[in-house]
């Protein structure tokens, strides 16, 4: 999926990280010493801070002088000042050791979601096609009629690309913001679900609200 450069001096850890990221579908190069990479051809740099050769932060500073390449810092140093410094110097994310490989994969994916221009305005969920820009929904080519409220609800969910949306946020679009808004919301969602047809389009999220049942934003 993406070309990633990993700069990490601990060989055992590096081997694991490379293996994890390759299993997630990326191409990974590995350096064990610190030096400034050529950003062209790379989609992401994953760099440790404490490196022989050049320190991770120095690499970051030099890189940032000429490139916008996404950088994810890996470090055992958890001090706030280190993290704030790294972020100020241009790091996009900071992952503290220890971490699960799944965590790394998720964070890498999040960093690779830049730039937003690549984001599609059309979503496909359970046989439905939703256009978030123009606001229409259709299944098998047939457009689905929605009330303005239902459309607003659906578009909010669609705009969040599968991330859960809180009940209070959804309730904002309802015409009457009374205390019965909550149950009112459930009723609207229920009607919306019926209209959208078979398959799970809108998933209930316990404790939060609802989400569009695309692949989970967090899970790879």
């Amino acid at each position: 999926m993406a070309r990633i450069l990993l700069i990490e001096d601990d060989a055992a850890l590096a081997a694991e990280i490379v293996s994890t990221l390759e299993r997630a579908g990326h191409t990974v190069d590995w350096w064990s010493e610190g030096r400034v990479p050529d950003p062209s051809g790379l989609d992401l740099l994953v760099v440790d801070l404490m490196l022989p050769g050049m320190y991770g932060l120095d690499i970051l500073v030099e890189l940032r002088a000429s490139s916008d390449l996404p950088v994810l810092v890996l470090s055992a140093r958890n001090a706030t000042s280190d993290r704030v410094r790294a972020l100020e110097l241009g790091a996009d994310d900071y992952l503290t050791k220890p971490f699960w490989p799944e965590e790394l994969v998720q964070r890498v994916k999040a960093r690779l979601r830049r730039p937003y221009l690549a984001r599609s305005t059309q979503l496909h969920v359970a046989g439905l096609k939703i256009d978030t820009e123009q606001g229409w929904v259709c299944r098998d080519g047939a457009s689905i009629e929605l009330t303005p409220t239902e459309r607003s609800l659906l578009l909010i969910l669609a705009a969040r690309q599968g991330e859960p949306v809180t009940r209070s946020r959804l309730a904002e679009v309802l015409a009457d913001a009374s205390s019965l808004g909550d149950r009112n919301l459930d009723a609207h969602i229920s009607r919306l679900r019926k209209k959208l047809g078979p398959g799970e389009v809108i998933a209930t999220v316990w404790g939060v609200g609802y989400r569009l049942a695309t692949k989970d934003a967090r899970r790879p």
Partner: protein, 469 residues
Amino acid sequence: MRLLHRLALATVMVGGAVSAGLVLIDAHSRQAAAEATLADLGRSRMDEANGERACERLDTPAVRPPPPHRPARHRPPPPGPRVEPPRIIPLGPSAWPAWAAARGWERPPVAADWSAVQTGLLSSSVAVVVETPWPRGPCARLLVTGSTAPGFLGALLPGSPVWLAPLLAVILTAWIALAPVARRIEGLTALVEARPAESFQLPAGFAGSDEVSALGQALQRMSDRLREELHGREAQERRLREFVAHTMHDVMVPLTVLMQHVSKLREAQPDQPSVRAIADEAHYIGALLQNLEAAARIEGGAPELCKAPVELCELVRRVAARHDVFAHERSVELAVGLPERPAFIEGDLTLLERALSNLVYNAIHYNRPGGHVAVVLEMGAHFVLSVLDDGPGIPADEMGQLVQRGFRGNQARSRGSRGHGLGLHITHEVAKMHGFELRLERPPEGGLRALIEGPSNQRSPRELRKGIH
């Protein structure tokens, strides 16, 4: 100016008493001398006169005061009370001149030789009554009057108040000697209070060789010793923190490698209980180490917050990502509900992450398979970050105890149940340090809702920077 007040009061009291005493003694002495002299005068006149008949001549013009004459042109009258020349007035046995009675003089009882007339201690008029050898005639007694004009016999104090001068000189001396001392002591006090104990600085201009300077120098030495000790302690604490940081680093790397392997093992044997247990414990060790690091910062001498803008949505996503594996292990669903736009607050990034992580860990740990945990962030003038679960919750009385003890569970409970000990305590302390509120609630449908609430900073870091620069 208490010292000087006391000095003023003392001098007034002592000076006043001494002066009054001197004046009274002087007056008494003069009167006594005058009385004795008048008595002698009366007796001598008596002896001179030729018997009783001569007594009548006592009041003759010869002994009468000379008539007032034209004042001498060449000499002005002396200052002070008018000098009354002595007069001798013959009295009958029980006669008493009306003018004497009018002046308040009482007729003294008959005495052997002579007796004084009480004219008042401070009066300058003196009078005595001399007994004659002819007690039945018109010359039974002689009233002799005079005055204690300055220069008269018996005077202790000189006429003019020049005797007050030494007294004033003493008072002035005391003031001149003590007023500067009082001021210097005040100055030293101000210097001591101006700065904290360890940075007391005696200015060069304070040098001197009196007791106050000695005190100042002693205080300076004490302050220097205190500063050294404080620096020593600070250096020690710094070394300790560095040691903790380095140790953390040395432990975290192998732990991370371990976790990567465990994860692979889990994929290969997802139902192996040992593998799941290893994953559990590895996660707990990682969390515990980071909690210990946070605790070292919080419980240190001067817990400092490294404040910066913190974007809460990202923070929540990171914490959720960290716990996804753990939640998956426990078959607990973990979901987040975030606002659309970035949500900034002011705070310490690492400590806030720890605070939320502990709540999320507990929510998953105490839950049962099939349970749910939701992390929800609501933004407004305040932010409310809630961790909601449908686990067993915390019984009301236990909740009260936990809150009371600052969320520090007792030893047995800490070891046994793992969560209520350090994690919740750290969350509570972090909230307190930030001025946020941590609340634990029991929702009506059961489970637990833990929330952190505090003021939000609706501006982004870029906007904040624009404001600063």
